[in-house]
Symmetry: C2
Subunit: 434 residues, 2 copies
Amino acid sequence: MTTRWTAEALAALDAADPLAPFRDRFLLPEGVVHLGTASLGALPKATPGALARRVEAEWGHALVTGWNRHGWSELPTRVAAAIARIVGAEPHEVRVADSTSVDLFELLAAALDLRPDRRVLLSERSNVPTDLYAAQGLVALVRGEVELRLLEEDEPLAEKLDERVACFFVSHVDYRTGRLHDLRALAAAAHEVGALLLVDLAHSAGVLPIELRAANVDLAVGCGSKYLCGGPGAPGFLFVAERHRTMIRTPPSGRMGGADSFAFEPGYRPTPGIGRFLVGTPSILALEALRVGAELVAEADLELSRAKATALAEAFLSLAEERLAGFGFELASPRDPEARGAHLAFRHPEAGALAQAFLARGVVADVRRPDLLRFSFAPLYLRFVDVLDAVERMEAALREGVYRDPRHALRAEVTRAAGPAVRSDLLPGATGGG
Amino acid sequence: MTTRWTAEALAALDAADPLAPFRDRFLLPEGVVHLGTASLGALPKATPGALARRVEAEWGHALVTGWNRHGWSELPTRVAAAIARIVGAEPHEVRVADSTSVDLFELLAAALDLRPDRRVLLSERSNVPTDLYAAQGLVALVRGEVELRLLEEDEPLAEKLDERVACFFVSHVDYRTGRLHDLRALAAAAHEVGALLLVDLAHSAGVLPIELRAANVDLAVGCGSKYLCGGPGAPGFLFVAERHRTMIRTPPSGRMGGADSFAFEPGYRPTPGIGRFLVGTPSILALEALRVGAELVAEADLELSRAKATALAEAFLSLAEERLAGFGFELASPRDPEARGAHLAFRHPEAGALAQAFLARGVVADVRRPDLLRFSFAPLYLRFVDVLDAVERMEAALREGVYRDPRHALRAEVTRAAGPAVRSDLLPGATGGG
């Protein structure tokens, strides 16, 4: 079988790649192909220095005056401005703070407040569980007054999206399969029945063009640790369309979201704008790391990022189907690249052990139990030649016999190959929102 | 007038101070006396290196495998163990995550869940406003089903603490006056009527002995950025007494608090222990900075810390009353050192401008509008001689005429003295919970 994805062809693609210069702005480990960005983006080279300045020159020397002298107070707004460019919003529609889960909880509560006569929250059963948990927590808090309704797989939206729904909340890109939703169509469907659309951008922000304003999305949240390269446990962000933001109340409310955070008034009086979505004081260290990542990602043309991520994934899929045929992988993502985000998932009964074996050979992928291997294609630091490199390493791992007996031999061999630092009960791609 | 607080006497106290060696473990700016710890603790020397390791060696090189290989997953537990020692709790009763405001919101909601037949949250009108805002947000969310009741100043607790109260929530140390509550007495009073006691430890954790278990406190929250030296916007922490923790539900709930955070189950099933209070993924950078601070503070004997902080404050008060008499300061804190925490507050009509003038002379203090100057005495890095130094600098600022005309000349002179980097509309001691 001949392939168009030869080493020469891939190198030619790299040579012509307008995004190629971005790679040099990341610190990438030697001998590793990082296909795990859907869990954690790579480290920008500028981050360590930027953090060191915040810590030593600012916290250490300016102490509490750093809030004014060194712009700590404005840092959430700066990061929001970069993220606004990435998601097609105005800076005053975006707020960076807390975790994605807390942000989602806040917006679900706000949605109920915006639609006080409606008591249904609608989502998909396949939505990332942490998002469903946030809704379940809210339902429990209001003691059953609110109902969480879930669409089953392939169930038409119209079956459950009716005039009792306050808010329909979905993931833009499915954390497992990578399926991509059409935001404009979903917003239109929600608005048709007077509901709000809330989108989780965890697996799309920074890797494909998003036009929240143009698509008429009402509310959104996102994650800073994946394609925005803000580091492990980076703060989340939230978006509230301008038309809603002065009407919205925010539980939990806190001092930093007050109209005057120094007034220490006993009654909460939210700031008129998006700032009301600040609750407590945000971590300046976490925000600074996210600032560096988001500003770097915002420099790239997201149309180019999308095209390159798609081409990388297509090359990977072709090569994997050629080289890894017969090893039991089954594509779990849409085959049409227009119908998915920037990752590919494959089902395999030994997904966890295989991820360990690939990791031992320098290919970082994620596992989503029970049986999904997830490979994500970050266009700012992956080269086309890396795709071939990764598939060759994976093929070598598979051919070397680790796959002879899936039930017994594999786990032992993999654990040995990976060395004692890797616990066999914990998989790579361990955490981060979904 | 003679004083016992001569330079020689103070130097002798420093020479005999068992906590003196701690000072060398902080990076303190030259020529500055830091009396602003009630807003932001100083930078431990170990913090920059610890952060650099987390960033470069771990995030940069291990990528997502850092969650297992470098113990990121266990970091909240490690920090919780240090804080547990500081607040008189067991490690499994403490969880570090989110901001203090979000933590408080979670625990107020949990308290309502633990006392489902009671719908009153009781606090003090003088409580730090951000805590009242969290309760107001909760009241709004459950649409008026819950009532927030406030004790006025000097109103006896028995007037409003009755059998309709689910939870009485107070600050251990008042963010303005420094007044110290007796936790054991408050817990007994709350339990007498079947209510829960929730304490905000923002201004006490790390600077005086706290025995949450012994005092029979039910719930608590605290702040990482003040006496725990975790940096600007450090994560908060929460405490749930062992007897409650398996009964408690947690809105907002999230994946990280699930029994199996990798199972991605559609139904939220909280982990049996305190871990359920993790919601989203916590920032590893913010946690690492807090780890260094909290572990350092936990090394000190808190009885010694308390004794030294009190002695520092007493010296400051005596010297201020001698040297600054006639400049219009009025003590706003209890005079009895047993009745207050580790800070002193003074009322002055020009508090904001004076803080700027003192800052220009190297004395960092906080302002709480409209008229409070707050000086806090961190025993691990302040020397007794620093107290005299600070009062002398303050006296010099006052005598040099900046106080000639409070309404006009002062602001202009202060702004000039402080230089263009200080915005006259923003005060030092700008932010951080209260």
